[in-house]
């Protein structure tokens, strides 16, 4: 305790060194005076009295030194002195220091930006209490991947598992809030009653209780904070009042905490009530399951337990669970779209490469600076400095420099993140978990500072080695600068080669990413996205209870649209291309042996007859759907070209049969046509088998309307009037041109492409600066030699060849290594373009040529300058 107090006093004393020093001086002087006086009193001669007093003290300066050691903290004081020295040295060469600061700041900023993205979107995307202990539980189908589970299996899990506080089931479906005046579709979730105890209680009111999970008592809701503000003016009295959800009054019992929108930006939560008949079917896999690990349980123990439970369920219910396991993932793992992770790794790796390239440049500059300081270094050695002390000094200088660049880096990163936030459509931002957290925060400051220190260690290591070399001969007056410059030059050449080698794969990948995104955006998509507007509609069950009412609504709407002059084609489809939703069809092919345990799934599109014409999807064989393919007519289907090739290779699919294997006794469906492939789920790479069925034969209440028109505004106005006439309460959701649908889906990859392009450009710029620096330096070092050569009869051409030849050798070696790296990582290029634009060697060659040309230009400038110096002056050059 007292020792601690002593340390605190000593540390504080560091700040008051002057006063302390004065005090000490005065006290020791007073001591000497008192002692001398005493000695005189006992009869010593004045000389002797003073000598004895000093001896007893053990020397005045020595006493002071002992005193100082105790007064302050010696290690810290040395450090502070070194730090002051480092600062002084940095101030002496402001130009290079400024360049280093800016270079480092930009390179750090790109890393910080990427880190911030990964941190808020990947590492802790969900602002939930103690999020690390929240998990998702899935079934694993035999073919791999993960699937939701059925209510029956969920209840089994909940009953048996001990590793969790409680298991919570969720389903996500949109809900319609409000009655006839202002209906609004919002994201809603049905959750089992424990949901809020797992994710945190509502800010106002309460969560659900177990009794509310039964039919009849389940008409209650919890609203999100955002919805509460938007729709109800943040009126606290809303709790306890009734709101209309899907046409039925529900009582509001709580308001969720601000910014809480789990999962996927949900704005309204309802208790889940299990119907008795839903509990019978174990293949009714509609529930997402989440939970919080129980105290003492770990992710591993939970995984083991659930695996055992999964095995026992598989034994018990072989017909629905054979070869099915259970997967437990953390929320962060579970919520990240699978394509995001490789992109994140790519961005991190690229940002690090940029930092490495920047470090190489900085090392170059520092080595050049070190040459200027050789005299100072030699002098310090001569005065008795140890190498360790010198290295410490240099290291401190570099760390100081690196830390100075951190605020600058954070400012740049902050601006970049601001741009990123601004470029994200608001409706996407709400469903990207963690997006609102994207900003400069404490974690980012810590990360950037640590990275800066690591970078300082990295670029400092080489230059410290060189800068602190003991070279006493430098002190001799006429020592030639060149004598010691050789190994320094070699290091700098290696650095330039490394830079070029890193730049090539970086810009090839950036180009692939850019190219892939352009291609996804501009097609060919297999359909024509221009002049098509789209919107989504949902017919609520309470108003449209059966298929015939749904059919009637759609038929009336399409009929009306057909008569509109502004509309050149209109059709409905269950799922628009290029969206992140999908509907699949468990395929059984007629004439094949009995369906396998796990059927093939093909993408399932239910369309009205005019869909192919409206979207301009070519029918390659057979026919499109017609009005005759109606409800009671024979079931028909159209298959995509890739589906035809996969299931009827080399044969004509028309006239063949298929059916849905998951529906027992489903009628056979006859294929009447083959449609061109379209680019839909681009992230799975290329085209996937797709099945089209007539809307009349399987009407969905949830569908999109596509309209081909050259006058979107007029067409839209007519659509609104028309629908008003059929069902005044029906809102149109997500109205946007088809092209915008594609753009929105590509937001992520486009941002990645932009960041990659910026990284590639930055890396190239840094490498060119590096090359220019090295060639320039070597020319200035060889000015004397060049002069000599010219005097001895070398032509300008020869000299140019000498200088530029050296630069091009470095560039070519770098490019060769870079090409090898690029060829070794073509998988990366495939990942960033999702297989749409695979690695193309022509691009490698073209980009390598561009780098070589820029490299030569960077070498040519200093070479010309060297030639401009008259030989006589060059000869005199030291």
């Amino acid at each position: 305790m007292r020792t601690l107090r002593g340390w605190i006093v000593r540390l504080v004393a560091l700040l008051r060194r002057r006063a302390r020093e004065r005090d000490m001086q005065a006290e020791l002087e007073s001591h000497l005076d008192l002692h001398i006086e005493h000695n005189l009193r006992i009869g010593m001669a004045p000389q002797e009295a003073r000598r004895r007093a000093l001896m007893a003290l053990g020397g005045f300066e020595q006493a002071k030194e002992q005193y100082r050691d105790r007064a302050g903290v010696p290690v810290v004081e040395t450090l502070l002195r070194d730090l002051r020295d480092a600062g002084r040295r940095l101030r002496r060469s402001p130009g290079p220091v400024l360049i280093i600061l800016v270079t480092l700041a930009v390179a750090l900023a790109v890393n910080s930006t990427v880190f911030a993205i990964a941190d808020s979107l990947l590492l802790r995307p969900l602002a939930l209490p103690d999020v690390d202990r929240l998990v998702l539980v899935f079934e694993t189908p035999p073919g791999g991947g993960r699937s939701w589970t059925s209510p029956a299996t969920f209840l089994d899990w909940q009953h048996r598992a001990k590793s969790f506080r409680t298991l919570v089931a969720l389903t996500i479906e949109d809900a319609e809030l409000g009655d006839h005046d202002r209906p609004e579709r919002i994201r809603a979730a049905s959750v089992s009653h424990d949901f809020f105890t797992v994710v945190g209680n509502p800010a106002r009111g309460r969560g659900f209780i177990v009794e509310e999970s039964t039919f009849g008592r389940h008409r209650i809701v919890v609203l999100s904070d955002g919805l509460w503000h938007r729709r109800f003016g943040a009126d606290p009295a809303i709790v306890g009042r009734s709101v209309v959800v899907d046409g039925v009054p529900h009582r509001v019992i709580g308001i969720a905490p601000p910014r809480f929108g789990f999962p996927y930006g949900t704005e309204l939560w309802r208790p889940m009530a299990f119907e008795a008949n839903a509990l019978a079917a174990r293949d009714n896999r509609v529930l997402m399951v989440m939970s919080r690990l129980a105290d003492g349980a770990t992710l591993e123990s939970a995984r083991e337990e659930m695996a055992a439970i999964g095995r026992s369920i598989a034994q018990q219910f072989p017909e629905t669970h054979k070869n099915r396991g259970v997967l437990v993932q953390t929320l962060a793992e579970g919520f990240i779209e699978p394509e995001v992770r490789p992109l994140s790794v790519l961005l991190h790796a690229s940002a690090l490469l940029v930092l490495l390239i920047a470090c190489a440049n900085i090392t170059n500059l520092l080595v050049a600076l070190g040459v200027e300081r050789r005299r100072e270094v030699a002098m310090r050695y001569a005065l008795g400095a140890t190498r360790a002390a010198m290295v410490r000094g240099v290291w401190l200088e570099h760390t100081l420099l690196a830390l100075l660049s951190v605020p600058l880096a954070l400012a740049v990163a902050g601006a970049a993140l601001g741009l990123l936030r601004a470029s994200m459509p608001a409706r996407l931002a709400v469903i990207v978990p963690g997006f609102e957290l994207l900003d400069v925060d404490g974690r980012l400051v810590v990360f950037t500072s640590l990275l800066a220190i690591v970078a300082a260690g990295f670029f400092g290591a080489f230059s410290a080695m060189h800068a602190t070399r003991h070279e006493p001969e430098v002190l001799k007056e006429a020592a030639r600068a060149q004598t010691a410059g050789v190994s320094r030059l070699r290091l700098r050449r290696i650095l330039v080669v490394a830079q070029v080698a890193f730049v090539l794969p970086l810009i090839v990948t950036a180009a692939s990413s850019w190219r892939g995104t352009r291609q996804l955006l501009n097609g060919p998509h297999g359909y024509d996205a221009t002049n098509v507007i789209t919107m989504r509609m949902t017919l609520p069950e309470w108003q449209y209870p059966d298929p015939s009412t749904t059919r009637r609504f759609v038929a009336r709407m399409l009929d009306g649209l057909r008569r509109e002059p502004a509309v050149n084609g209109a059709a409905v489809v269950n799922v628009l291309p290029s969206t992140n939703i999908n509907q699949t069809f468990a395929l059984e092919v007629q004439g094949r042996s009995a369906p396998r345990e796990e059927p093939d799934y093909v993408d399932d599109r239910v369309v009205s007859p005019a869909y192919f014409e409206t979207m301009r999807i070519r029918i390659l064989k057979g026919r499109a759907f017609t009005e005759l393919d109606a409800d009671r007519a024979a079931p028909v289907a159209i298959v995509s070209a890739s589906m035809a090739a996969k299931y009827w290779p080399g044969a004509d699919p028309i006239g063949r049969g298929l059916r849905e294997s998951s529906v027992p006794g489903a009628p056979w469906i006859r294929i009447v046509g083959v449609a061109n492939d379209i680019l839909d789920n681009w992230y799975v790479g290329g085209s996937v088998p797709m099945l089209y069925r007539p809307y009349e034969q399987d009407p969905a209440r949830d569908f999109a309307l596509t309209i081909r028109t050259s006058d979107a505004a007029a067409a839209l106005a007519r659509v609104r009037t028309l629908i008003q006439g059929i069902d005044p309460a029906r809102p149109l959701n997500d109205v946007m041109p088809m092209r915008e649908v594609i753009e929105e889906r590509l937001t992520g990859p486009r941002q990645v492409a932009v960041i990659m392009a910026a990284l590639g450009a930055l890396a190239l710029l840094l490498a060119v600066i590096g090359l220019y620096g090295v060639v320039g330096y070597s020319v200035s070092q060889r000015t004397h030699e060049i002069g000599l050569r010219m005097v001895l009869g070398a032509t300008q051409r020869d000299v140019l060849k000498l200088v530029v030849g050296q630069a091009s050798r470095l560039t070519l070696i770098g490019l060769a290594i870079g090409a090898l790296i690029t060829l070794g990582t073509t998988g990366v290029a495939r990942a960033v373009t999702f297989g749409i634009a695979p690695f193309d060697p022509r691009w490698l060659v073209a980009l390598a040529l561009i780098i070589a040309a820029i490299g030569l230009a960077a070498a040519y400038v200093p070479a010309r300058r060297a030639l401009g110096i008259p030989p006589v002056i060059a000869l005199r050059h030291e």
Binding site: L34, H38, Q62
Partner: protein
């Protein structure tokens, strides 16, 4: 200065300083040193250079406090005095020292009786 004995010495020096200040009241560094030497019958010879760091340490730990004042001969000097914590520390350390010497004394007696 050898490391190990100085540690022991430092501990006893602190105790001596505290005891001196308790009996003599506020005193300057030279006075403390002289008093320790006199009390020991001049059998101890202090290196005065080690005294000041020891005083500083005691002050940092809050056992003594210091003020500038004037000596009996009208010289400016820094006077140290015992704080309340210092008084407590003195009692505790004196007792520990008594215990230690008592144990050692008994140990030495037994040793002699055996041989």
């Amino acid at each position: 200065m050898a490391k190990k004995p100085s540690d022991v010495w430092q501990g006893t020096l602190a105790l001596m300083v505290l005891k001196t200040l308790e009996t003599m009241g506020p005193l300057h560094g030279f006075g403390i040193a002289r008093r320790i030497e006199q009390t020991s019958g001049d059998r101890l010879s202090l290196n005065y250079g080690t005294l000041y760091p020891a005083l500083l340490k005691l002050e940092q730990e809050g056992y003594i406090a210091s003020d500038w004042g004037v000596s009996e001969n009208n010289r400016k000097a820094k006077f140290y005095r015992l704080t309340r914590a210092g008084r407590k520390q003195l009692i505790a350390e004196a007792r520990a020292w008594d215990d230690a010497t008592a144990i050692l004394a008994r140990f030495l007696t037994v040793e002699r009786g055996d041989s």
